[in-house]
């Protein structure tokens, strides 16, 4: 992935989140306070607005900008979690101008570690980490198989439906959260679907 593809990834994500804004908010209403779609749409709209200005930045700086923009504009718990993930990608890719297999491995490992630290959570607790963590594990030294990445993200998202939420507002509902997909896992699925689409179009 180069700079232009990273920007394209963000544009695709913004578009998908805008399209699914109401769906995400509705999912959030079942387990939280119903504003996940609104917040994510606002955050990625701000990223879109920044993209033109950031086009000459190094890939690592671009990721940092995306991260801090998400922290500032998404707010809530999703802002720090998504923001931390992108900032960690940025710090992992300091010497990188084209993200290949090994760079994906190190970047995603750092992103997952960042989300876990910031959210004081781990995989299996019904959060966006249940998408990020298995997706991170799908990368290896080879050029990524984007179809497999997308399928893994989808599977991770779906599995949150069977989990008892242990973090965030949903945690207060306990067993009742079984049967509900985690909205953060759904927005993360869209993020990785957008990545897969972008990388397939660009031919890797």
């Amino acid at each position: 992935m180069n700079n232009e593809q990273a920007a394209q990834w963000m544009r695709q994500t913004a578009k998908m989140l805008a399209e699914h804004k109401d769906e995400l908010s509705k999912l959030d209403q079942a387990v939280g306070d119903g504003d996940h779609g609104v917040n994510m749409e606002r955050g990625f709209r701000a990223v879109m607005e920044g993209l033109d200005e950031w086009q000459d930045l190094a890939l690592s700086q671009l990721m940092q900008k995306i991260g801090s923009t998400l922290v500032s504009n998404v707010g809530g718990a999703s802002g720090p979690l998504y923001g931390t993930a992108f900032m960690r990608l940025g710090s992992a890719w300091k010497e990188v101008d084209h993200v290949d297999g090994p760079a994906w491995v190190s970047g995603m490992a750092k992103a997952v570690e960042g989300i876990a630290q910031r959210g004081k959570t781990q995989a299996g607790e019904g959060t966006l980490l249940d998408v990020w963590s298995p997706v991170a594990a799908m990368f290896d030294e080879n050029e990524p198989d984007w179809k497999k990445i997308e399928d893994t993200a989808k599977k991770g998202m779906k599995e949150t439906e069977n989990m008892v939420v242990k973090k965030g507002r949903g945690a207060l509902l306990g067993e009742e959260t079984v049967g509900h997909v985690d909205p953060g896992a759904v927005s993360s699925f869209y993020l990785f679907q957008a990545l897969a689409n972008t990388m397939n179009e660009g031919g890797g």
Partner: protein, 323 residues
């Protein structure tokens, strides 16, 4: 949904502008942010910052002023402000004596507060954070939410800070108050988010939701709507269980946004009649609301001489003024 507003996306910003326009001698808005700061603070005072999602007015901007907060951060409706906003508030409140963050126990607020603390520490500003979790509707203390009891923590800590106390002392009294304050709420109707335009949950005409938070999230228990007397008994029982000491109490009856003062006082009367304890301070009104939700919360604080004296100390803010 009928609401008096212009652009739902700009409702928080418009609210802050209005608050400052109406109270310009007391507060101002930090340019380019959603942070409300006190117009004048005594020199060398520890800074007191609170904040969180909007929709809980008058909390928190209404409590900025002498004897209470130095800065308040307003997020989007029911959404924690970003870390940069908390950081801007910390910078504005710092006078070299450090800053205490008073944060309600919600993941977003805690995470953004922690990130802001990291930013502040990198700038050489000493910070501490106290997390408020007074809601006994939740069993697990780690998951307990911060609700109306927050306002009493802000009042007491603000009064101590006004005397020129240190950051550590401010942290001490905030933690002491947190350890002795407990609340629980009941909703008669849900609330409606301006940007979502539909009620946060469905509640039948004859139902009430017990143990709700302040974000339109569902409560712990749904039951047939009861009289004020019975509702008082229900909430008192839950809250008192968590206040084991026989200490005198401060009582706060808080309206959730669209409960008339008449009903709040009907409820207050029922609570006071049933509460066979020494009540040293009583507050009734809208202190920590949930947009247009109908309902009340009951907060009890086990006071001692120290906490009592800070509750009685003078305060001059938009919402809370006493000589």
């Amino acid at each position: 949904m009928k609401k008096l507003m212009n652009d739902p996306e700009r409702i928080v910003s418009s609210f802050l502008d209005g608050l400052v326009a109406a109270n310009g001698t007391l507060i101002q808005r930090l340019e380019g942010t959603d942070v409300i700061v006190r117009r004048s603070s005594p020199p060398q005072k520890v800074g007191l910052v609170s904040g969180g999602g909007s929709g809980h007015e008058p909390a928190h901007a209404g409590y900025v002023g002498k004897g209470m907060l130095d800065a308040a951060v307003a997020g989007e409706v029911f959404t924690s402000p970003g870390a940069d906003q908390f950081f801007a508030a910390i910078q504005a409140a710092d006078q070299g004596e450090g800053v205490l963050l008073l944060i309600k126990n919600y993941n977003g607020d805690v995470m953004n507060g922690e990130m802001a603390q990291e930013m502040a520490e990198a700038e050489g500003i000493k910070t501490e954070m106290v997390i408020i979790n007074d809601d006994v509707a939740v069993n697990d203390p780690d998951q307990r939410r911060g609700i109306a009891g927050t306002v009493l923590v802000q009042k007491i800590t603000g009064a101590l800070a006004e005397t020129g106390a240190s950051l550590q002392d401010a942290k001490r009294i905030a933690e002491k108050t947190v350890s002795r304050v407990r609340s629980m709420s009941v909703a008669l109707t849900p609330c409606t988010l301006p940007a979502v335009a539909q009620p946060s949950f469905d509640l039948a005409e004859d139902e009430m939701e017990v143990g709700i938070g302040i974000h339109g999230e569902r409560g712990m228990d749904r039951r047939e709507v009861a009289s004020s007397e019975k509702t008082a008994q229900l909430l008192l029982e839950s809250v008192l269980k968590e206040i084991p000491s026989a200490a005198p109490l401060a009582l706060l009856i808080n309206g959730m946004g669209s409960t008339p003062l008449m009903e709040q006082h009907v409820f207050a009367n029922d609570v006071i009649k049933q509460l066979d304890r020494d009540i040293q301070h009583t507050y009734v009104g809208d202190y920590m609301t949930s947009l247009d939700m109908a309902g009340v919360s009951l907060t009890l604080l086990a006071v001692d001489d120290e906490l009592s004296s800070y509750l009685q100390a003078p305060v001059h803010t938009v919402q809370w003024t006493q000589c």
